[in-house]
């Protein structure tokens, strides 16, 4: 099992580098992952997307694709890309402590 060092802790991650244990996740960890991913300060709009992502995951057992994420979060695709450049669904899932969306098979 690979681990990622975040805030001095070694947390288990999967082969995509996403957290394995949701219990390891908290807002501080999220901010640290965001920084590692090159996303600056997490604003309210970032948090709205992250929360929507977690909610969808808890309901569906899978992180939503970009298309579904726009429905779930009410944030349009253009803005999603501004908030989470280079693959909003992938990036937001990582920061939310969820596995990469399975949708892209």
């Amino acid at each position: 099992m690979e681990t990622l060092e975040i805030l001095g802790k070694h947390l288990a991650v999967d082969k995509d580098g996403n957290l394995v244990n949701r219990a390891d996740w908290n807002e501080e960890i999220a901010r640290a992952i965001a920084a590692q991913e090159g996303i600056g300060e997490l604003t309210d709009r970032h948090w709205a997307v992250i929360r929507a992502m977690q909610k969808a995951f808890d309901r569906d057992g899978d992180a939503p694709s970009i298309r579904r994420l726009t429905n779930e979060s009410g944030v349009d695709v253009k803005t999603l890309y501004q908030l989470f450049p280079k693959g909003p669904a992938k990036k937001a899932a990582k920061i939310a402590g969820l596995p990469k969306p399975k949708g892209c098979i």
Partner: protein, 410 residues
Amino acid sequence: MRKLVILGGGTAGTMMLNKLSRVLNEDQWQITVIDDSETHFYQPGFLFIPFGMYGQKDVVKPRREFFPMRANVVISGIDRIDADHKRVILDDKSVVDYDYLIIATGAKIRPDQTEGLLDDEWGKSKFDFYTLEGAQRLHQFFESWHGGRLVLNMTEMPIKCPVAPLEFLFLADSYFTARGIRDKVELRLATPLSGAFTKPKATEILGGLLEHKNIKVTPDFGIARVDNERKMIVSYDDVEVPYDVLVSIPTNMGDECIARSGLGDELNYVPTDKETLVSEAHDDIFVIGDAGNLPSSKAGSVAHFQSEILFKNFLDRIEGRPMHSSFDGHANCFIESGFGKALLIDFNYDVEPLPGKFPFPGIGPFSLLHETRMNHYGKLAFRWMYWNVLIRGAELPIDSKMSMAGKVAA
């Protein structure tokens, strides 16, 4: 009479029809299949058409040739499913009742979903090869093309046969080399994925092949629109990729009849239990092939593996037994890599494509994630298998469950 209705007489619907016709007693069961056209397309063959390797005759046959005598064949558009009343409404508003329904309406391309894609230039400088007409237009175009920038763009995932875009580029490399103009053609993949494919090991190997063949990659590219004036595709984060010819894999979606029935997700795919293949909303509806939302590849081979699971679960279901078969996401795809070679990948929900050998009784092992001539013959033989074995619902010498035999674990 108990009534089974199958929606869609393509790859998956035809397979299920043939399998179930053999075991459901004719005095007790009426089996109906509904499709809007008389023609069955061998879609995997569309890949070869732009390069003149296949023509129309290789990929079309009359649908009825593959339907058993006893089947009640209805050629009509499906307007919607009224699941609460267990009936299907056709385009002319006539009604077909069912006790059990199998949804096999597949997926289709939707160029209308991307701003600027579907305009006058569609079929002139912007093409698809996921339809017969698209592939034929592209063939005509290539015949008289002298080179320039060819960009292949996948709009969004999931798509049918996620390796087809890579195969297209590998074949283009081979084709333009044979025509002596490869040095005048720039080949580029603009993809929403972070690399060549969706799974790590295969991405590494296929990415290496792209590099080796001098095919450039623009990763993490989420297309927002086509700028037709400037002949560029533009991403949501304002990356611009110029083209002379754009080959698009437009958004793939389930049929609109699924949306009209209120049975689909945001891409009109039917939410389906990924193991039992039963619709999540209605337990008298089964779903097979590209029409469902399973996290497995949308491929004919996958539909075939699903058909064996669905067959057993359907029989359990109608006999009132608990369903005991579960689908593991098994997929098995040849990847044409040009110059008469191909690779093979074999994987499921949990195990990514791995290198090694793939045992195949009678013909001998194929090589996994490795280019060989043998794999290329496998890919070409798939067409014969498709028409003669697969859609006729006969057994293939491959287990529906993925096996680790021969694979080298990472």
